[in-house]
């Protein structure tokens, strides 16, 4: 009987666990042919917060939250530093080389999309195909910031690290015909304060680190397109020459 329960638990837990999406490098041919229309969107930027992994019990969470309340209050006064302009910046990079882009103004809500469970590697876990007709696009590039703020590890009630600035999320390009990823870039950037972190009420060291992780994330998301467009331009030019 114990063996049956153990086996059942194993089966249930292994079904719940799904492998995280691995990075997929951007290839130069994803924007070919030149008639491909790319939509670029972002999800809503999250409210800045302090993550406290390890403070697992209810009282632990309350104690840790109280202990970091000054920092939490402060980071909510900080700006997003034009993070939402990322889609326009990437669109600009692509447009310069003749890629037809549509910047989607409204924020995507990924939670509202239908979930898909597929064993095919590289298949998106949400159904993005609805956007094909909604925006008349062939592919959708999404920048999704899941968390922006600070992180401080805990062991129950006790902090085990200094707070650090952090940003995490993912950028991905979905082919709206096959619902498969053609580019996937997870980011998880953390930066400590220089010198000292505990300088309330303005925490200049952590504030400096916060703005640096934002800049580093912009670089991470933009770089593949800045590097790619030179190759893509050659692909378009040669395909255009062949059409002529």
């Amino acid at each position: 009987m114990k063996l049956v329960i153990a086996l059942l638990t194993f089966v249930v837990l292994s079904g719940c666990a799904s492998a995280p999406q691995q990075p997929i490098q951007l290839q130069s041919n994803v924007f070919a042919p030149s008639s491909t229309r790319i939509g670029i969107a972002m999800t809503e930027l999250p409210k800045q917060s302090v993550q406290l992994p390890g403070a697992d019990c209810l009282l632990c969470i309350l104690a840790a939250t109280a202990a970091n309340s000054g920092l939490s209050t402060h980071i909510q006064t900080l700006s997003y530093e034009n993070l939402s302009d990322l889609k326009k910046d990437i669109a600009g990079s692509l447009s310069k080389h003749g890629v037809e882009v549509l910047v989607i103004d409204e924020n995507l809500n990924l939670d509202k999309l239908k979930s898909i469970s597929s064993k095919e590697p590289g298949t998106a876990s949400k159904d993005f195909t609805i956007y094909k007709t909604q925006y008349n696009i062939d592919k959708l590039l999404v920048i999704d910031i899941a968390h922006l703020g600070m992180i401080r590890t805990y062991a129950s009630y006790f902090p085990t690290s200094d707070p650090k600035a952090t940003i995490n999320g993912a950028g991905f390009l979905v082919n709206l015909s096959s619902n498969s990823y053609e580019w996937y870039l997870p980011i998880n950037i953390t930066k400590s304060a220089d010198v000292s972190w505990d300088e309330p009420p303005k925490y200049p060291g952590l504030t400096n680190a916060y703005y640096q992780v934002i800049e580093l994330s912009k670089d991470s998301f933009s770089q593949p397109f800045a590097n790619l467009t030179t190759n893509a331009a050659a692909t378009f030019d040669s395909s255009a020459a062949q059409v002529k």
């Binding site: 006790f158 085990t160 303005k202 060291g205 400096n208 703005y211 800049e215």
Partner: protein, 238 residues
Amino acid sequence: MYPAPNAAGLIAALITHGLINETAKKNQKENLERMSLEALRPYASILNDYHHRELMQTALNNSLIPGEKTLIDHTESPVADFVITSLPKFFFTQDQSTIILDNIISVSRQGIEKPVFQNTIRVISNASTEKDFVTYWSQNNGTKLKEVSSNIFAQSLELAALQLNNAFPQEAAEKTIRYMQGNMQKMERGTLLYQGCKRMIVKTLRGSLMSIPVKLDNVNNESSKCSPALLGSVLVLQ
């Protein structure tokens, strides 16, 4: 989550974690110090013979601060209305292309106990493009090393004087500024006080000043581009 059977076990696990962390940090620090000393070894004989008086006198002689300037030892009585006290720390970047100065400067006035000015000023030299840094810095008894260090020291005094004279704009917006430190790009959140063709002056979130080499993209993106030379303006300590 620490695997602990009870509260006492958790505390023991935490103490152990803390000790392991502290030991690891101490080992890392010692390792870095060892690497730093090793990197400075080729310059040891030059640095041992290069005293603060020579550095500071050369800097004062070349400084743009007008008026008579006398270098005195900290034990001597002041001979002027204003006394500038300086506590400089010099660093090499890991690639040895750049010297960085952190200078804690305070300015006192005769008869007033509290300093009229106190700040930390960081000056980052332009990165050298030489291939052999040891030869570059140490040839001719360290001429280049002494020249660059006294130049950036002079610049730190000039920046202190400019700030004391409220020469910088008061209401500049805060932004994240990219700059070069050695051959690495760095970033700093602060207020851009001055944008030159090759150099920028930034006030950090802590209120300290930084004089940093321009990252080329910054020059193209800034509307003001190269501002008129700020350091050539007349400085009068009032």
